[in-house]
């Protein structure tokens, strides 16, 4: 029986947000696309599962780059343009910060956010607002430059702040604002969403993070992230994309430096003009390219020269009381015993006790997400892969439970309520869980660390030279824009654009 066509324009490995974004964009331009996804549903970690009759969000805390209906940001606009009708709910706050000497909830809007910080640390309004506006300027430049690359002199004319901050870390730039420590602490909690300590985090990335989340707030889909993933998949199929679930791609077929298809674990060999891989370059260059002799030395050097960023560990509880009765008052809580991001980054290299926790109570953003009289509460740490790489299979269950217990105990102490007395359902997601369901290399969901040695500006500058295999593109957290569900979409679109540009260039050359 014949399950595949003889040939596709593009094969996309992985039907998560990046791969589906690629597929949508390519199909929208009339290309014949096949998506092969290893799991039996789309989305990767942008998914949900059902326990005890309750549907539970697997990963999404808050989606950036959507923006309100009348002022869409780039991801929201892309979804609209593709005809996706996702029911977005605005997350009510930026976050509640629970830090040494600080218990404060901050809300979106650059002015609002600055004013709320000023209420805690009087006299900082102007400086904080100036910083946030600088972030916003850099953010706008990044958005524009990612679509319309331009020459350096042009960039300097039109995108001065972007150019002039590009060489500096977040810490270096923040230091110039001469803010009191408490104000700096309140400007730091989102750091975990980009996952590098401030002395190594490019200010460019900090800018995007702050301008997007603080400026516009964040969104979640009413039917959890599976709504977003499924609507992308359904729309892609409407546009003619063939999506096949439960298909593991083992090999990317390469000849004379050019990708020409894939082989699945089932043994199907499928051919195409282009391959877009959501599998990590680490996996592609060490085991998927067939033959491996086609992998140039530069490719393995690049893989070895980059640092994997963060993975995720979450304990998700369905509790048998409404949130307010358990003293849970916010959608999002960042809790740390310090806001020294460099020290916290070190702490993430181990297996706990973890010092910086990220908590979500979905009921505050999505009322009715759990049955009456219950609530959903998750505690997440985003550790580096380093510590988890040392866990052996026989110790896995013990380590997993020890870490989960620490997270629940810490938050129980904070709320003054023993959460363990209220657990209807308890799900522990680990780096191994992520690896199991998505195949992500070492369960890493953040791709490569955003550092001064692996700067997004540098990534953009050298992208062309890092195409080691012709007609093979990468889409996923490991691609240029890095981690996060919003950037995943951007990464997918970028890979699709590269394919479209390449096709156009070849046509031009043939003329």
């Amino acid at each position: 029986m014949k399950f595949y066509k003889d040939h596709y324009d593009v094969i996309v490995i992985g039907g998560a947000l990046a791969g589906l974004s690629s597929a949508l964009m390519l199909a929208d331009k009339g290309l014949d696309v096949l998506v092969l996804e290893r799991h039996n549903l789309p989305g990767g970690i942008a998914t949900s599962f059902v326990r005890g009759g309750i549907e539970i969000e697997a990963a999404l805390h808050e989606m950036m780059s959507i923006g309100p209906g009348d002022n869409r940001l780039k991801v929201g606009k892309f979804f609209d343009d593709m005809g996706l009708d996702i029911e977005w709910l605005q997350v009510p706050e930026c976050y509640h910060a629970s830090l040494p000497g600080l218990e404060v909830t901050l809300h979106p809007g650059l002015e609002t956010f600055s004013r709320e910080i000023d209420e805690q640390v009087p006299g900082t309004y102007d400086k904080v607002l100036k910083l946030l506006k600088l972030c916003d300027t850099v953010f706008n430049s990044v958005n524009e430059l990612s679509i319309h690359p331009m020459s350096k002199p042009q960039m300097l004319m039109k995108h001065e702040a972007f150019v002039k901050t590009a060489g500096y870390s977040t810490k270096e730039v923040l230091d110039t604002f001469d803010l009191p420590q408490k104000a700096l602490d309140l400007l730091a909690p989102y750091w975990i969403y980009v996952g590098s300590g401030f002395s190594d985090l490019p200010f460019t990335i900090y800018s995007v993070l702050m301008a997007d989340y603080v400026g516009y707030g964040s969104m979640i889909p009413r039917k959890l992230s599976h709504e977003m993933s499924l609507k992308m998949a359904e729309r892609a199929e409407e546009l003619g994309v063939q999506i096949e679930y439960r298909q593991h791609v083992d090999k990317i077929l390469v000849k004379n430096g050019r990708a020409y298809g894939v082989r699945t674990a089932r043994g199907d060999e499928i051919y195409s003009d282009y391959v877009i891989s959501a599998a990590y370059p680490n996996k592609v260059y060490t085991s998927m390219i067939e033959p491996l002799s086609e992998v140039p030395e530069e490719a393995t050097k690049m893989v070895n020269g980059r640092r994997l960023s963060l993975t995720a560990f979450s304990v998700i509880l369905i509790l048998d009381k409404p949130a307010e009765e358990l003293n849970i008052k916010d959608y999002s809580i960042f809790r740390g015993d310090t806001m020294d991001t460099d020290a916290l980054y070190e702490n993430l290299a181990g297996l706990g006790p973890y010092r910086y926790l990220t908590c979500i109570c979905h009921n505050y953003g999505n009322p009715g997400v759990t049955p009456e009289g219950t609530c959903s509460f998750s505690v997440t740490v985003l550790p580096r892969v380093d510590g988890w790489k040392t866990v052996k299979a026989e110790d896995y269950d013990r380590v997993k439970h020890e870490v989960a217990k620490q997270l629940i105990d810490d938050m129980s102490e904070y709320f003054g309520v023993n959460l363990l007395d209220h657990v209807l359902e308890c799900v522990i997601e680990t780096p191994m869980t992520i690896a199991h369901y998505t195949g992500a290399w070492n369960g890493c969901i953040y791709g490569y660390a955003h550092t001064m040695e692996d700067h997004i500006v540098a990534r953009l500058q050298t992208a062309e030279e890092e195409k080691f295999i012709d007609r093979l593109e990468f889409a996923g957290a490991h691609a240029i824009s890095g981690d996060g569900m919003g950037p995943a979409v951007t990464n997918g679109r970028k890979a699709a654009k590269n394919v479209l540009d390449d096709i156009a260039a070849r046509k031009e050359a043939d003329r």
Partner: protein, 396 residues
């Protein structure tokens, strides 16, 4: 470069680009990167593995315990006591899968001579595969199995240390696994099993259980016979609230596994205990015995047959289907492989897109996601055709 001058520094982009290239330049060219986290995930969940039957022993007059080892002799995957294994059978032209609670213990799967066991009772004429396992399966037969599935296990962050298991008939199997793990010292709970059987002849794994009970003071097994039996001095009757209360501690988690009739009875009895919902855990009960009995099923269609067009990739085939048999059963009869897990509508392994046609979903244990419902995805083990249909399933 002085930081305070950053607003006049236009060389940053070139500088960071050089830094990046330098890092790559000095990196090792060896293909040595490894994925230990992925490897652990594969040790726990390797997917289907090849198993060989190495031992068959009677578990009572009407049930047998089947032991499997890996054909490659390796250790079996980790699992939690109470979880199940899905075995794939090829019988005639049918490809059929079945979930069975594992009756051996997790430590035995990782022992020097590793094995996994299921215990299966012969049916009363309606259990095609149960009878196949009892009558046809023999030492040396090779099957594929996927193990470590299901949510029916003790979770220390959720459950009370004192566990009362309520078992009926062959529903003892997950508790046999837990009991062995308790005796081995690798499951730290106080376990009391209230085990209901019709007569002492019907007690599955009686000798094995009795031997375990004597071996550890954290394990108590209480047989409860529903029929009158001369000389029986143990508990009698059904697993009533009164009896359950007698063996409960102040904070107890109840695990329940048995036939569907027992669930109907126990739901009422457990309600009388007045314990919080989080303390009561039912195992999924498998395929509905008679779907036409559920409210909402159009009984006028119960004898109807339909055609299902099955799409896999770019191919399509038509297969016959009955209104009272799930889509999974229709596929299996036609020899089309579909992955299944719990076969109770819950786990979603058999998630299937309905392209067109009407269907009925078993309301019990409906584990579909909200967005899946909106887009006509069903769990095919719990969905029944009510017209000709067109569905899309994964290529297997």
């Amino acid at each position: 470069m002085k930081v305070k001058n950053f607003l006049t520094d236009v060389g940053g982009a070139s500088r960071v680009t050089k830094a990046r290239l330098k890092a790559f330049h000095s990196a090792s060219p060896a293909l040595t990167d490894v994925d230990p986290i992925g490897n652990v995930s594969r040790e726990w969940h390797p997917g289907p593995i090849e198993l060989v039957v190495t031992k068959i022993t009677p578990a009572c007059k009407t049930a047998k315990t089947i032991r499997f080892e890996r054909t490659d002799g390796k250790k079996l995957p980790f699992f939690y006591a109470g979880q199940y294994i899905v075995l794939d059978f090829r019988i005639g032209k049918s490809l059929i899968s079945r979930p069975y609670s594992i009756s051996s213990a997790p430590y035995q799967a990782r022992a020097e001579k590793p094995f996994v066991e299921i215990t299966v009772r012969k049916s009363k004429g309606d259990g095609f595969i149960c009878d196949y396992v009892n009558d046809e399966l023999k030492v040396g037969d090779i099957l594929t199995g996927t193990m470590g599935l299901g949510q029916f296990y003790y979770e220390p962050l959720r459950d009370a240390k004192h566990v009362v298991a309520l078992a009926g008939g062959v529903g003892i199997t997950p508790f046999a696994s837990m009991a062995k793990e308790v005796v081995n010292g690798t499951l730290d709970i106080d376990l009391t099993i209230l085990y209901g059987s019709a007569s002492s002849d019907d007690i599955v794994m009686k000798e094995e259980l009795d031997a375990l009970e004597g071996a550890c003071d954290k394990l108590h097994i209480v047989h409860v016979l529903s029929g009158d039996e001369p000389g029986w001095t143990g508990e009698k009757g059904f697993l009533t609230a009164e009896l359950i209360r007698k063996y409960s501690a102040e904070d107890t988690t109840y695990f329940i596994c048995g036939p569907q009739v027992m669930y109907t009875f126990l739901r009422k009895e457990v309600a009388k205990l007045d314990v919080p919902a989080r303390r009561v855990r039912f195992e999924v009960f498998g395929q509905a015995k008679d779907i036409a009995m559920y409210e909402g099923f159009p009984t006028e269609l119960r004898h109807e047959s339909f055609t299902i067009t099955v799409v896999r990739g770019i191919s399509e085939v038509e297969i016959p289907a009955k209104a009272t048999e799930s889509i999974v059963v229709a596929l299996e009869r036609a020899g089309i492989r579909i992955e299944t897990g719990c076969r109770s509508g819950e786990c979603g392994f058999c998630r299937t897109k309905v392209i067109s046609g009407d269907y009925f979903v078993c309301p019990e244990g409906d584990g579909r996601r909200a967005a899946d419902k909106e887009f006509n995805y069903v769990h095919a083990c719990a969905a029944y055709p009510l017209s000709d249909m067109k569905i899309k399933i994964p290529i297997m």
